[in-house]
């Protein structure tokens, strides 16, 4: 009987294993020390090895499991992550209010039933609330417009 490798599961386990190998490779420069006096490299190396081993067990286990029925949905992912990325990159440069408007419009655009009007109203409301709580209230150093 031929068992099929469950590809997403295998990829995930391999990603964890790759992380473990990567961490081992980076840790090659850290002094290991002795068991009594451990250097900064001892524990990271031990954890990396454990990660590789445990992920390998999952990789073996996940053979012939049914593939998970959830499919990634690209649009919400791209728009929401893009919105956050834009906010992070723009907030210091073009200001709190433009960055927030872009973020809210991007996030609202993936939701069913959102209109330009409702999204813009929401963005306005959030800008005002955020300005009052965070900039005025807590004094975080952001300017509403400009860097």
């Amino acid at each position: 009987m031929k068992t099929k490798w469950n590809r997403p599961e295998l990829l995930a386990a391999s990603a964890f294993m790759a992380t473990g190998f990567g961490a081992l490779w980076v840790a090659r420069d850290y002094p290991v020390g002795t068991v009594t006096r451990m250097g900064p490299g001892f524990i990271p190396i031990a954890i990396s090895v454990l990660l590789i081993l445990s992920a390998a067990v999952v990789a073996v286990q996940c053979r012939s499991l049914p593939e998970s029925p959830t499919r990634p949905r690209l649009k919400p992912f791209v728009f929401i992550m893009g919105g956050i990325l834009a906010w992070a990159l723009l907030v210091d440069r073009v200001g709190f209010i433009p960055a927030t408007v872009i973020l809210v419009l991007a996030c609202a655009s993936v939701e069913i039933g959102s209109t330009w009007r409702s999204s813009l109203l929401l963005a306005g409301g959030l800008c005002a609330t955020g300005y009052a709580i965070f900039i005025r209230g807590l004094g975080i150093p952001l300017s509403p417009f400009g860097g």
């Binding site: 009987m1 068992t3 997403p8 995930a12 386990a13 964890f16 992380t19 961490a23 850290y30 002094p31 002795t34 068991v35 009594t36 451990m38 250097g39 900064p40 524990i43 990271p44 954890i47 454990l50 990660l51 445990s54 992920a55 067990v57 999952v58 073996v60 286990q61 053979r63 998970s68 990634p72 949905r73 919400p76 929401i80 992550m81 956050i84 990325l85 906010w87 992070a88 990159l89 907030v91 927030t100 973020l103 809210v104 996030c107 609202a108 993936v110 939701e111 069913i112 039933g113 959102s114 409702s118 999204s119 929401l122 959030l126 955020g130 709580i133 965070f134 807590l138 975080i140 952001l142």
Partner: protein, 502 residues
């Protein structure tokens, strides 16, 4: 300090205008977040964490703790009315709560869950008052070996008791430990895994990580999906809340059993309220004279799990405060918050921060009372919250995540960290890797490393030190038992499959 003078001190600490105000804010936020499906208490705490930097430690703790137990109250509302758990801990409540609502008894179900939640909370707070200082006193004799072993138990428990594959939980915990290695090693001062990035020298930001894993990842899962079918939502009127005498008679015994199970699970490091609720439900089904009633609106099916999840949430404060070992991921975040305020929950916590401990205990009583009052007369308001459409809710949550994380260090780098962990959390959710153990590993990582190294330094490199000390050996034995119990069956299954494959 004895109980009475402790309570007196607690009253003095917690019953101030500020204490009461932040208790009310905390439980209201918790309730609000709990009612809304899709956003858990972890995301709520992470979002409010930046605000607490500007508060007194006492008020900050009262508020953050209030969010946790408040969410347990709120979670059952959506479970009962919409068959959608507001928080994962109340998923079981939907099994019998929703059928009750369909029979037109939603009001009774909501009333019963509130009362049993209150009861479960009270039982666990009494335990906390009696047990935590004693445990703290005992723990004063703990050395690094004991700490290492108990943290190991906590991590293994968190990994294997999560719902799903225990092996994936273990991978997740270990990955969390590895993430904890980023930043400066406290013993040698060497900077590890910073990849030349200045911001990573202090380690990854806990708030950003929690927001990515639990806030953004959850929203990504639900974004763009149709709204909840709110047209089916029943109006709940105040006079429909009153249970019949029969209902009450069927409630009190399961509530006591549920509170017992919940308290026990809560004290165990690593096992959270979700497990407590599931166990309590299973227990009721077993002891019931007629198990076929379950799933069709049996009142025991809501009262036991609701008492259990609240008891567990409150009891989880026992290991968190006495040993500094969080009971579950939410407690881990609270622990992180306490450390940010310069409070290290340790056995010494009860002697150094007596006022904080008793203040917190008294605030639990007040908070639970507030929740009782908030819940029953205002139930209509909470039900209305369920009608907020996603197109307004989700962008608002994402916005508060961004600005909240930014305000921790006033640095957009942390917001980029949110994106990275949002992607990781989304992928892990999709492939059924539990994310809570990752956070547990991350928070306990530096402590476990420190204690491991120190224990071996004291024993001159002798690994037997962990077994020679009886308390440490007992914890290790529990850990080994858990591993054997939960990993062995799955290994055996794998071996069987391999044999068939070749």
């Amino acid at each position: 300090m004895d109980l009475l003078s402790g309570l007196a001190l607690g009253v003095e600490m917690a019953i101030t205008w500020e204490g009461l105000l932040f208790c009310l804010i905390g439980v209201s936020i918790g309730m609000f977040i709990g009612v809304l499906p899709g956003i858990g208490p972890l995301a709520a705490v992470a979002m409010t964490l930046p605000i607490t930097y500007h508060l007194q430690p006492m008020s900050a703790l009262i508020m953050l703790a209030g969010i946790f137990y408040g969410a347990q109250y709120g979670g059952s509302t959506a479970s009962i009315l919409l068959n959608l758990p507001g928080t994962s801990t109340t998923a079981v409540t939907a099994l019998d709560g929703y059928p009750m609502a369909k029979q037109g008894r939603a009001g009774v179900a909501l009333f019963i869950t509130t009362i049993t939640s209150f009861f479960g909370g009270c039982v666990a707070i009494i335990l906390l008052m009696g047990f935590a200082p004693a445990l703290g006193k005992m723990a004063l004799s703990f050395s690094s070996a004991e700490y290492f072993s108990i943290m190991l138990l906590g991590l293994v428990a968190a990994a294997t008791m999560a719902i799903g594959s225990p092996m994936k939980g273990i991978v997740s915990v270990i990955a969390g430990l590895l993430l904890a290695m980023v930043g400066m090693d406290t013993t040698s001062g060497t900077v590890r895994y910073s990849f030349g990035i200045l911001e990573l020298q202090d380690g990854l930001n806990l708030v950003a990580m929690a927001m990515g894993l639990f806030g953004v990842a959850e929203i990504l899962k639900n974004a763009g999906q149709p709204d909840r079918p709110t047209d089916k939502l029943q109006k709940v009127r105040l006079r429909e809340l009153m249970p019949t005498r029969d209902d009450l008679r069927q409630t009190w015994k399961p509530a006591i059993r549920g509170a017992g199970i919940g308290s026990f699970i809560g004290i165990l490091p690593g096992a959270g309220p979700t497990l407590a609720a599931f166990l309590a439900y299973a227990m009721e089904k077993r002891v019931a004279r007629d198990p076929s009633r379950f799933g069709k609106g049996a009142i025991e099916g809501i009262s036991a799990p609701e008492a259990a999840n609240n008891a567990s949430t409150q009891a989880a404060f026992i290991p968190t405060l006495a040993l500094g070992i969080p009971g579950d991921a939410s407690m881990a975040v609270l622990l992180g918050a306490m450390m940010i305020h310069g409070i290290t929950p340790r056995p010494e916590f009860f002697t150094v921060h007596t006022d904080l401990f008793w203040g917190l205990v008294v605030s639990f009583w007040i908070g639970n009372l507030m929740l009782l009052v908030l819940n029953i007369p205002l139930i209509g308001v909470w039900v209305r919250i369920l009608t907020i459409p996603q197109r307004l809710l989700f962008p608002a949550v994402i916005f508060f995540i961004c600005v909240g994380v930014y305000s921790v260090n006033n640095n957009p780098f942390d917001v980029l960290t949110v994106i990275v962990f949002g992607v990781i959390g989304y992928l892990m959710n999709m492939l059924n890797y539990p994310t809570a153990p990752l956070l547990m590993g991350f928070i306990l990582g530096p402590m476990i490393e420190q204690h491991f190294r120190r224990a071996l330094l004291f024993s001159r490199g002798d690994m037997w030190t962990f077994v020679d000390r009886p308390i440490s050996a007992a914890f290790l034995a529990c850990t080994a038992g858990l591993v054997l119990l939960l990993v062995f069956p799955s290994l055996r299954r794998t071996a069987g499959r391999l044999k068939r494959a070749f």
